[in-house]
């Protein structure tokens, strides 16, 4: 028979836990009054930097859920030097991401050759109506303000982290 029977020791453990919670507060985070800091490179919502997008359709094609809708048209921009040929430029009409379908895999961000899509750690964009989860071009552009700077590489690396175009 041990000195303090396990039966009593068990009661002691739970009682100590009560005292600890009363004195020190709970271990849990009291959402929505307190919020936890998201980890670096956390994936929340996807932001669009419209100037970089050339409507190449790569993100739309690679998305496993087909949740990106892109429409664009070609216009002519003035030539770069006087007397040259007018250049054709792609202009975005519509760039929608449907967050009711998105599975946050990040393939679109990874595959974009012009770095027009960015991850942000924002997660509080739930809506009462599912249709409102379709974020259009303007809203995706507004998310750019919440994109954090890229994490630096390890000390002694030759490459420096790129800057986020806000």
């Amino acid at each position: 028979m041990p000195l303090v029977p396990g039966v009593v020791k068990g009661l002691g453990i739970t009682f100590k836990e009560v005292v600890k919670t009363v004195v020190n507060g709970a271990e849990t985070v009291q959402y929505p009054h307190e919020k936890e800091e998201p980890t670096p490179r956390a994936r929340g919502v996807i932001a669009l930097h419209e100037e970089n997008c050339t409507s190449c359709m790569l993100c739309s094609r690679e998305c496993p859920d087909w949740c990106i809708y892109i429409e664009g048209h070609k216009t002519l921009a003035p030539p770069r030097r006087a007397g040259g040929k007018p250049r054709s430029v792609n202009k975005l009409d519509r760039f929608d991401i449907d967050y009711s379908l998105c599975m946050y895999c990040g393939i679109c961000v990874e595959v974009c050759p012009f770095e027009a899509l960015f991850w942000t750690p924002e997660y509080e964009y739930s809506e009462p109506k599912i249709a409102d989860l379709l974020h259009d071009k303007t809203r995706l552009g507004q998310w750019m303000e919440t994109v954090p700077d890229f994490e630096g590489y390890e000390a002694g690396a030759d490459v420096k982290a790129k800057k986020v175009p806000r």
Binding site: T14, F15, V18, T21, T28, Q30
Partner: protein
Amino acid sequence: MLFASILDAWWLQTIAKSGAVLAVVLLPAGLTVYLYLFKMVSFMQSRLGPMEAGPYGSLQLLAELGKSLQKEDIFPARADRNVFAMAPYVVLTSTFLLAVVVPFGPNALFTDLDTGVFLALAVSSISVIGILMAGWASASKYSLLGGLRAAGQLIAYELPMVLAVVGVVIQAGTLNLQQIVYAQINGEIFGWGALGLPFILTQFVGFLIFMIAVQAELTQVPFDMPIAESELVSGYMTEYSGMRFLMFFIGEFATAAIFAFLASVLFLGGWSIPPFITELVGLEVDSAWFNVIGPLVMVTKMLALTFVIYWVRFTYPRFREDQLQKFAWKVLIPIALVNITITGILKVAF
């Protein structure tokens, strides 16, 4: 009741007592559910529990009530409709009947029965029928298993409960609960009457057995094989939803509170405070002030005992069915019988 002197009409008394019984059953249930089920278990798990509904989550039970009221009343397709519907009421009947015999003060009681203890123990067995009805009528394998386990367990633990109380009855010399309280007030510890004689001092074995048997009668962990949440979903309560489930739920907590009231009457001196304090303040031991102080004292003692019941519930894993039965038949009943024998011998000798 205090009203009896003012209004002698029996129908008025009955209405007043019915209202008071509702209060005695529902208010302690609500209080213990909030304090222990919402808050104490949360603190034991390093979290805060409900905090949004009312200040510090005090209105959470009200929110649960509202939620249950608007739920669909589901009957399983093959369930026996009448038995299924009646089962929660049978369990609640035993709870309300149990509350009728508990005294809260010299005159603050519902009925002064000469066989109060006998009625209390007999009536607490009615809930077994309700649980069996629920288990069988649910037409579900989880409920049936829960009901069968409940049958074995509840019947097995009736005996230690009764035998533990017999020791108190022998020592007090009466089955009348009010007289048991007076016996504790007027008793003396080796001639020293300042504390009275709360029977827990001499019947500590009986007290321990009674509390263990109460834990088993309420199907609380570590005796919750009939519910066994990780195995049987909810045991006999699995197929119940909404208001019917809430009736089982409130019945369970109300019964726990009322058993705690009973235990404080039988072992802790009921509605009385130690006589030397009453003499200090200059009151008679059975003065009318105790009709007001008595209920408060009872609630304090009830909260202390339910604290222990739920502390044990939230700490331990559960017994296996055979360990449970062995504990009742081979350990508790022999110890209770020995307790009765020794009490009887000492009562006659001294």
